[in-house]
């Protein structure tokens, strides 16, 4: 039996077990719960089922760890100091904004008069 056949057989057995044992959820159901789990929005019953699945399933444990790290990295990467900051904001853009502002003010003054 090759390694991949062995993994496939184990996965099939786990799938059948998770579907049949009362109170367990499948990996797909676990996946649907992930964001609610992270936002602490699961009911206590759902949370228990989520945790039981996490305990039983290596793939979902690995997946959740990588998923959480993705969120952390995504957020941190934009707070790191080398995010391309346009130091070179064109002076022409600043001048255009200030000119439009000036024009608006003058238009307002005329209206008042």
């Amino acid at each position: 039996m090759t390694e991949s056949t062995k993994i496939g057989t184990m996965r099939r057995l786990k799938g059948v077990m998770l579907k049949r044992v009362h109170g367990m959820i499948t990996c797909r159901e676990f996946d649907e719960f992930i964001n609610a789990y992270l936002d602490d929005e699961l009911t206590s019953k759902e949370r228990t089922r989520f945790k039981m699945h996490l305990f039983m399933c290596r793939e979902c444990r690995d997946y959740l760890a990588a998923f959480e790290r993705t969120i952390e990295v995504g957020s941190a990467v934009f707070n790191s100091s080398d995010e391309p900051v346009p130091n070179d904001v064109p002076e022409s853009l600043i001048n255009t904004i200030l000119k439009i502002r000036e024009g608006d003010e003058h238009a307002g003054d005329k209206k008042e008069k």
């Binding site: 996965r11 099939r12 786990k14 799938g15 059948v16 998770l18 579907k19 499948t26 990996c27 797909r28 159901e29 676990f30 996946d31 992930i34 964001n35 609610a36 399933c57 290596r58 793939e59 979902c60 690995d62 997946y63 760890a65 990588a66 998923f67 790290r69 993705t70 969120i71 952390e72 990295v73 995504g74 957020s75 941190a76 990467v77 934009f78 790191s80 080398d82 995010e83 391309p84 900051v85 346009p86 130091n87 904001v89 064109p90 853009l93 600043i94 255009t96 904004i97 200030l98 439009i100 502002r101 608006d104």
Partner: protein, 193 residues
Amino acid sequence: MQPDQSSSQDPGKISAETLVRDNIGWMMVVAQRLLIDRSLAEDAVQDALISALKHLDDFEERAKLKTWLHRITVNAALMKLRKIKRRAEQSIDLYQPEFDQNECRIEAPWTQVKSVEDILENEQRRTQVRSAIAQLPDDYRIVLLLRDIEGYSTSEVTAWLDISAHNVKIRLHRARAALKKLIEPVLRGEVLS
């Protein structure tokens, strides 16, 4: 929403030029994250600052200046995004988790998940993560940016995008899952091709 880092100065006393010069840099960063394109970001920031200057007198002090400007910038960028022709995008379905016929997850074993510090200390990896985010379809990328990076709540994003809270949550979940798939080599400590 992120905590306001700006000073508690009275915005009514700021000259137009000071307000523009002090804020245009970070506003460009926010607009460019959302719009990707530099010239579109400049247009959005121009619209945002003109609008801000117009309403500066009505500005309520209880809201902080940077928070207020941040919202105006996001709003201007989203307006711009609605008007432009959409980029060619790959379906996000390509990057979703896989399951077998018994609803069991198909996931290659992880021997390690690189730490945030490890990933951030390498410029190439940081660039790869940012490019992966930019690669997400706009409908998903925007939700991910507003929720996970800009720090807005689900209800705030719901109002901005005019979609249900359920839809925001689904898009966020799919965006995070797709991003995980796209940056897997970075998380595993492998080199991206």
